[in-house]
């Protein structure tokens, strides 16, 4: 039997599920603890108590928003040396140029710019300044900076410069952590460099956190390998993933969407995930979240991450409701819901109180909302319906009716009928869809490259082979690999029928 444990470490709750073949055998929700480890240990203990078979799981997948929160809240970030390879090009826009000043000051320890880099066709721009790199490596070592981000011009097409820089750093400064931008991003130097810098400043936290996860696992008597879930709904082995914390930035919403697809057995649908503070709406395509194609900002830094295209609304179970005039949100009582909401003895009218008064859910003390005017409750529900309907309409890719899968702890807020929606799907275990999504994650490989003088078919075939090799290197079983995304974009002004081709493949974890 195939047994997998999926864990979602959220800001409020740590959820865990045991998946046996294709069914949910056990599911638990426990509070997240500040040390993370205790919360996971407790969740695993509760899971094992429900289903002793959990101990023999073959894989454990953890999804967490820990690293995004660190950037957004400016805490636990390491100091970084930035190495840019590409002079004389780009001299006027050095590393960190478009970062918010407060974050740049926290992270920027040293900036090195060197000659090197490549052209769009892979030719060198100018020869790489290896001597300059060696001197910089020594300076970085002397300054005691433990993490370095390296970004070279056109490195996604020719990674030689970044690789050589990393080799020199390893020689001069054994043990230094090096993030190479071509491993992280696509074409777009600043955004890719930003991703590398963010990664570099999180690398120490990622190691600590991954170790805490591993300890929690061992303490629970589970010997299975640990994987971390990524933004694109796939996983990496923890020991690989700890070098790429930025890849898990959006894994929370991704997991809930993937979990929604699995639980509802729908591959093409919209997903609405209602939490305590926000409602996220996304679109499933072939069972995966549709990705944002544009620039994504994390804590004010522009990046080009593989992120799901999400619409976030200020609507959740803890969202405040104002009476005169009627307003829903945007602020929320958040994790204080169980103290501050009327039904829990507090004095703040929240969306949850409205839902209890309307009989959508039975929570707390219903008598405490009995005096709410029916007109207020109705008007608030109409407003909530309107917010969800508008959000759904904005995320739809065509005018036809689409199914909508409701997940998350606040899914009771989603009305059974909505304009533009063919059916609202409520599924068992919808409250822990994110942990289910973690448990079913696969391994991916992606290539984004410019091809010249090839037919479209040849270019795609070549990109596909390279993507498959990457997936296998990341732990996929070659026989199970499927192509999930193909995108090609002819490039204006480049000669020789240039085609930018992006192919993404996924496969099951090799056993």
């Amino acid at each position: 039997m195939r047994r997998r444990i999926g864990i979602d470490v959220g800001g409020t709750n740590t959820d865990a599920v045991l998946l046996e073949d294709d069914g949910v055998a056990a599911a638990v929700k426990t509070p997240t603890t500040s040390d993370v480890t205790t919360g996971i240990t407790k969740a695993l203990a509760a899971l094992v108590a429900q289903a002793p078979g959990a101990r023999t799981a073959q894989a454990v997948m953890i999804g967490t928003t820990h690293f995004t929160n660190a950037v957004v809240q400016r805490r636990d970030l390491g100091r970084v040396a930035a190495v840019r390879i590409g002079l004389p090009s780009g001299a006027s826009l050095p590393p960190f140029v478009d970062w918010p000043e407060d974050l740049a000051e926290l992270v920027r320890a040293e900036v090195v710019t060197l000659e090197g880099g490549h052209e769009f066709d892979g030719r060198p721009l100018v020869p790489f300044d290896a001597r300059g790199m060696r001197a910089a490596a020594r300076r970085i070592r002397e300054a005691g900076i433990t993490s370095v981000a390296v970004a070279a011009v056109f490195s996604p097409l020719n990674a030689a410069g970044e690789e050589e820089a990393a080799a020199i750093l390893a020689e001069e400064y054994p043990g230094v952590a090096v993030t190479q931008s071509h491993r992280l991003g696509r074409i777009g130097l600043l955004e890719r460099e930003n991703a590398a810098l963010l990664n570099a400043c999180l690398i120490e936290l990622a190691r600590k956190t991954t170790r805490a996860f591993t300890e929690a696992l061992r303490a629970s008597g589970i010997a299975a390998p640990l994987y971390l879930t990524q933004n694109d709904g796939t996983v990496m082995l923890a020991e690989v993933a700890e070098a790429y914390p930025v890849y898990s930035f959006a894994s929370g919403p991704t997991n809930s969407m993937r979990g929604a697809a699995f639980l509802s057995k729908r591959d093409e649908a919209l997903v609405v995930d209602v939490g305590g503070t926000t409602t996220d709406i996304g679109s499933l395509r072939h069972g995966f979240p549709r990705e944002a194609n544009s620039v994504v900002e994390i804590g004010g830094v522009r990046t080009l991450f593989r992120m799901p295209d999400l619409l976030s609304l200020g609507l959740g179970g803890g969202t405040r409701v104002a009476r005169e005039p009627l307003a829903i949100g945007p602020t929320s009582v958040g994790y204080r819901l169980t103290e501050q909401a009327l039904v829990f003895g507090g004095d703040v009218l929240t969306v949850t109180d409205v839902a209890v008064a309307a009989g959508l859910i039975d929570l707390g003390d219903r008598a405490r909302v009995a005096s709410l005017p029916a007109a207020l409750v109705d008007a608030a529900l109409v407003r909530i319906r309107g917010m969800i309907e508008e959000g759904v309409d904005r995320m739809k890719t065509d005018a036809g009716l689409v199914p909508l899968i409701a997940v998350g702890g606040g899914s009771f807020l989603v009305p059974a009928r909505l304009a533009g929606v063919s059916e609202v799907l409520n599924v068992p275990h919808q409250a822990v869809a994110n942990a289910v999504g973690a448990a079913i994650a696969q391994v991916s490989g992606e290539v984004d490259q410019i091809f010249q003088d090839l037919t479209r078919e040849e270019a795609i075939a070549r990109a596909r082979r390279a993507a498959e090799d990457k997936a296998v290197a990341a732990g996929a079983d070659r026989a199970t690999i499927n192509v999930v995304e193909v995108e090609d974009l002819p490039l204006a002004y480049l000669p020789g029928n240039s085609l930018r081709t992006r192919v993404r493949v996924v496969g099951e974890i090799a056993r």
């Binding site: 006027s92 826009l93 769009f120 721009l125 549709r290 065509d398 410019i450 490039l491 204006a492 000669p495």
Partner: protein, 357 residues
Amino acid sequence: MRPVTADEIESLAIGAWILGTGGGGSPYLALLNMRQAYRKGVVCQLMDASELADDDLVAVVSNMGAPLVGQERLTDPKTMALAVTMMEEYLGRKFRALMSLEIGGGNSIQPFMGAAVLDLPVIDGDCMGRAFPEAQMTSFAIHDLRMYPLTLADVRDNAVVVARAASWKWMERISRKACVEVGSIASTCKAPRTGKEIKECAILGSTTKAIGIGRAVQAARRAHRDPIDAVLEVTGGIKLFAGKIHDIARRTTEGFLRGTAAIEGLDDFRGHTFRLAFQNEFAVGWLDDVPRVMTPDLICVVDTVAGDAIGTETLRYGQRVTVLALPAPPILLTPKGIEHVGPRAFGYDLEFRSVFA
């Protein structure tokens, strides 16, 4: 002549991206360069063409190449300045000011980058009033002005002077070849113009107009009003269509990004379809298969909610967009103008009819 504030450069970036009509490339990196310069104390001067003496010389500048290469080889002021000083050396004369080739997209800010290094003013104007894909699609070409010499510089200190060209098309071919050779990105200084030529043949006031459009969008966003309404108010434009992109076809032919995008109507436009054809920039739009709008009227596609312009390279399935038409500069609407930049110049056998007629 008046100083340009840092806020005005921010507004210029937003307005110019809208005037780019889908092309011209994102102004973001040029804007970052200007933020850097202003942080160091630079303040650029905007000059009205009327302040030029007839025999003053003006450098008409642009960044040339593939927008995608520009995302890796980041634009910088020194290369821009090099193209200008090379031209001065070649001519043996000094420039009085710089001017943008095209106000649409990133090239709106390029003269400011050069001006910041050279300490010269920037003329309030350009020679397209928008963005166009080819060298002969300018008010100067429509006026039959000379198209040479041209200087082209790359960041490695490679530089080319195109001393003569038999026609605008030849100038385009030769300079394009040089540009590709240095990696498909280069700074160029086009044929120098006299103060008299600028006053008579340029599209004047377009820098101020772009700043005004950007400022209107920013003000609307701050006030939580519809930024698209603000654009229409300030430009006298028309909202043509609103909907969701449901099909895109793109291909590269002769070094251009050509293709079509189909938009399915939403709200007031439900049940209708709008189709756009582009060659780098949007060229023609059909409402339910009937031509509705065509170049040189400006066809702008913007994000329905944020009001940000969307480029032909970044159009994406599922985007919610609004199609606007903005009035073209009068010179482009003359019979000679239509010959250069009307629908037939883009291969569409259509008689030009302005939506504003």
